[in-house]
């Protein structure tokens, strides 16, 4: 591989979870540099998502877009990543300015890449600039060298695929062999041609004898990487992993890890069997409670859903004797895999492939198109990974366009074929066209927000209806907020989760808050105040995991037996104690859970400031489509008329319901919109914001974030320091 730029370096050892080193890459010049982070840095920004936020806040501006040279693509783990004695420690985040939301996005991903990067001497990698030719970055701790090289080519069949290219590249780099000491991130052709390209994290699984992949799926991080001309990043390090963080208290780390592993071993087999079935176990429960998206979130349940329950994937496809953790030592091991799946469609039809997945979200993206074929879910999963497409954004955009077709906003002439629910051939065609930037795929590649604008413009011209009217109608069922497509949960019957999506800083992704069951099913949040408290607490703790390099599933989806004896079982506090113990044992701190929440709140506020700077931070940006709040069209109301009528009568108390079902439907919509508005009021107050969702100056100041940029920004939004009354 032809070297364009290289530097030699001495990998810094990890001390108490940190190397305190960052690798900076400017692809324009190109230059490579390493620098030491100040001691204050980790105290204030923790790691992972915090480092990415700080870099974006300080080094980009309101005019920075995803394709601006100064946009930074950050990959960072955190102090608690890289420890096989504690479950789920292979995570890192990818943070950047998103092509979908035009503000900060972070997406977390597992694999070996982050632990290897840290053992190679770096807490974070920050890539800016744009290369004129495709390049690969190599961080080689074994050779003590960092290189930018010309991206090798292997022919279109391989070069177009993130998985195929990564496999060929790693073999070329490592003398023809795959190794657990070498990992990579890569993108595929779909990342070049869409706004929702993903970044694949590739690692060698010696038991399967092949590369496996996990994905930083949300927000178009792969699109940014591809736009920078960065085809892949390779990292190699032969340094040890167990104890590699050089923790302050070895025994404490071991103790905390053993405690959590014991709970997982005890509880998971009788609770979810994530270790066997993976996250598709959720499909059955979501279907039961009308939460599984069907036909663009119109419906939440379908009689054919049983064809894709977790045991179907397990019996038919998944490798049964191989635990599939995405990093060493995790005994939850929920990432599933299948071998020798023969593709039925697309340019690689007939080829046998290994599929990493499916995740619940991928299955939900397919049911959103009205398809309940497990084979197609496996195939959709593989092609999206290979092309480098977010399964969620792809499926939700396709579903939106299908509904546009259903409701005659689009015609066969405009699309080139019929977009029909449940039609595998149609969904498959749209998938491949989107990846290659061909035909109607060019529209689908834009994501829901921009596809909506395209449809509105054409329909307006075609019919003479005002554009504003058309886009308003489409906006009711275009499932995006802040420009990001919704993830795969129907929120119509959970006001708390409507807020969970609406207030999510990155857009409607469930990793900030997932409150559907405790709200809708368990009814544990009956008041606005309780919902608001949950909408403050859960995002803080959930996003803390993205700052320290850990997976949150062992906390979320394995309920500690002792949690039932606490005031708020849903918080699963006994398990969180293990996390705090692990943090303190690693870094030598003496933090409490409240300290952890405070650390996370600082990052939350910093992200809020970035959103404000990029025009996505006010109340208007927290609006969600009507489809997320209730039945938009009469057919949705009709499908559950008894349920909705009962709900309405409960709201009205002794008052009489309207006689006409159409009037009842209209009233439900009105009440749902009013409830969401009221929720906004409560949540903003709980978070220390104005009613326009802008943080109060004191709130920002309390977390030491009130620099000149923040002051100017808050002033621009009319926020002044409160005068003390006498």
């Amino acid at each position: 591989m032809k070297i364009i730029e290289s530097v030699t370096y001495t990998p810094q050892p990890i001390n108490q979870g940190y190397t305190d080193q960052i690798l900076r890459v400017d692809l324009t010049s190109p230059t490579l540099s390493t620098s030491t982070l100040s001691p204050n840095y980790k105290t204030k920004y923790t790691g992972g998502r915090g480092y990415a936020l700080q870099l974006i806040w300080d080094e980009t501006s309101e005019t920075t877009h995803y394709d601006s040279p100064e946009n930074i693509l950050v990959m960072a783990s955190g102090p608690l990543g890289n420890e096989p004695r504690f479950p789920g420690s292979g995570k890192f985040i990818v943070g950047t300015i998103s092509p979908l939301t035009d503000t900060f996005i972070d997406s977390n991903v597992g694999g070996h890449f982050a632990p290897l990067l840290k053992s190679a001497g770096f807490d974070a990698l920050a890539v800016s600039g744009i290369s004129q030719e495709d390049v690969v970055l190599i961080v080689d701790a074994d050779q003590e060298q960092i290189r930018i090289v010309e991206a090798p080519t292997f022919g279109d069949q391989i070069d177009n695929g993130a998985l195929s290219y990564g496999d060929a590249l790693l073999k070329l780099f490592n003398s023809g062999k795959l190794s657990e000491n070498v990992a990579a991130v890569s993108t595929g052709i779909g990342a070049s041609n869409t706004r929702y390209g993903i970044l694949n994290s590739l690692f060698y699984d010696s038991r399967r004898g092949r590369l496996r992949s996990k994905q930083a799926g949300r927000g178009g991080t792969g699109t940014v990487m591809r736009h920078k001309g960065l085809r892949a990043v390779i990292v190699r390090s032969g340094l040890h992993t167990v104890g590699g963080n050089n923790p302050a208290d070895e025994k404490g780390v071991k103790r905390a890890g053993a405690s959590l592993k014991k709970v997982i071993a005890q509880v998971d087999p009788k609770q979810f069997r994530l270790r066997s079935w993976g996250t598709p176990i959720l499909i059955e429960y979501m279907d039961k409670y009308h939460i599984l998206p069907v036909n663009n979130y119109q419906y939440g349940q379908h009689p054919d859903a049983k064809a894709i329950f977790a045991d179907v994937f397990f019996d038919r496809y998944l490798s049964k004797k191989l635990p599939d953790g995405c990093y060493k030592g995790c005994n939850l091991a929920c990432a599933k895999g299948a071998e020798n799946i023969t593709l039925r469609y697309g340019p690689k039809a007939g080829t046998k492939v290994g599929v990493d997945g499916p995740e619940y979200e991928t299955a939900g993206a397919v049911t959103c198109m009205g398809i309940f074929d497990p084979g197609f879910i496996m195939e959709y999963n593989w092609y999206c990974d290979e092309y480098g497409l977010d399964t969620i954004s792809m499926g939700v955009t396709a579903s939106f366009l299908m509904e546009c077709f259903q409701r005659s906003y689009l015609s066969k002439d405009e699309v080139g074929y019929e977009l029909s629910w449940g039609d595998i051939a149609c969904a498959n065609r749209l998938l491949h066209e989107t990846a290659f930037g061909e035909g109607f795929g060019k529209i689908c590649s834009r994501g829901v927000l921009r596809a909506k604008e395209w449809v509105a413009e054409r329909y307006s011209k075609k019919t003479g209806k005002p554009y504003t009217e058309v886009i308003g109608e489409l906006g009711k069922f275009a499932m995006e907020a802040k420009g990001l497509e919704f993830s795969m949960y129907i929120t119509k019957e959970s006001l708390a989760q409507q807020g969970g999506y609406g207030f999510a800083l990155k857009g409607p992704q469930h990793d900030e808050a997932w409150l559907i069951f405790i709200d809708q099913v368990y009814n544990e949040l009956p008041t606005f105040k309780m919902k608001a408290e949950a909408l403050k607490w859960f995002p803080l703790i959930r996003t803390w995991f993205n700052a320290v390099g850990l997976c949150k599933l062992p906390w979320i989806d394995v309920r500690h037996p002792e949690a039932a004896n606490t005031d708020n079982p849903a918080k699963n506090l006994p398990t969180l104690e293990y996390y705090v113990q692990y943090l303190n044992a690693t870094t030598g701190s003496e933090k409490t859970l409240q300290d952890v929440l405070d650390d996370s709140e600082r990052l939350h506020l910093l992200q809020k400031l970035i959103n404000l700077r990029h025009g996505k931070g006010t109340r208007e940006s927290d609006r969600i489509p009507l489809r997320a709040m209730g039945p938009v069209f009469f057919n949705e109301y009709e499908a559950r008329a008894d349920y909705y009528d009962k709900w309405l009568q409960d709201q009205l108390g002794d008052k009489k319901m309207p006689d006409e079902p159409e009037s009842r439907h209209a009233l439900i919509r009105k009440l749902r919109e009013e409830a969401y508005d009221k929720l906004c009021d409560e949540v903003y107050e709980a978070k220390g914001y104005t009613q326009n969702a802008v943080p109060l100056l004191e709130t920002v100041d309390n977390f030491d974030l009130l620099d000149q940029q923040a002051q100017n920004l808050l002033t621009m939004f009319g926020v002044q320091r409160r005068k003390l009354s006498n």
Binding site: L282, Y289, S487, F517, P561
Partner: protein, 81 residues
Amino acid sequence: MKISVQFHGVHRAITRVNEIRLSLSSNARVSDLFKRIERTYPDLQLSQDDIMVSINDQVSTMNHSLNPEDKISFLPHIGGG
């Protein structure tokens, strides 16, 4: 009275049935049903702390009195993705 118990996920895999019909005394509560399911399917390893009771898709409690044709599920705690 006759009621139905629906099994989901892990419970369905262990019991190998989707749903069973049971006859209970007319004043039976959920706790009575729970004990009966525990006896019938010991492999479920049911613990009251680990599950939520759902009757006709509404969350309920162990003390709740059952009615004819109720559909009962014992659900795990679901925290999401």
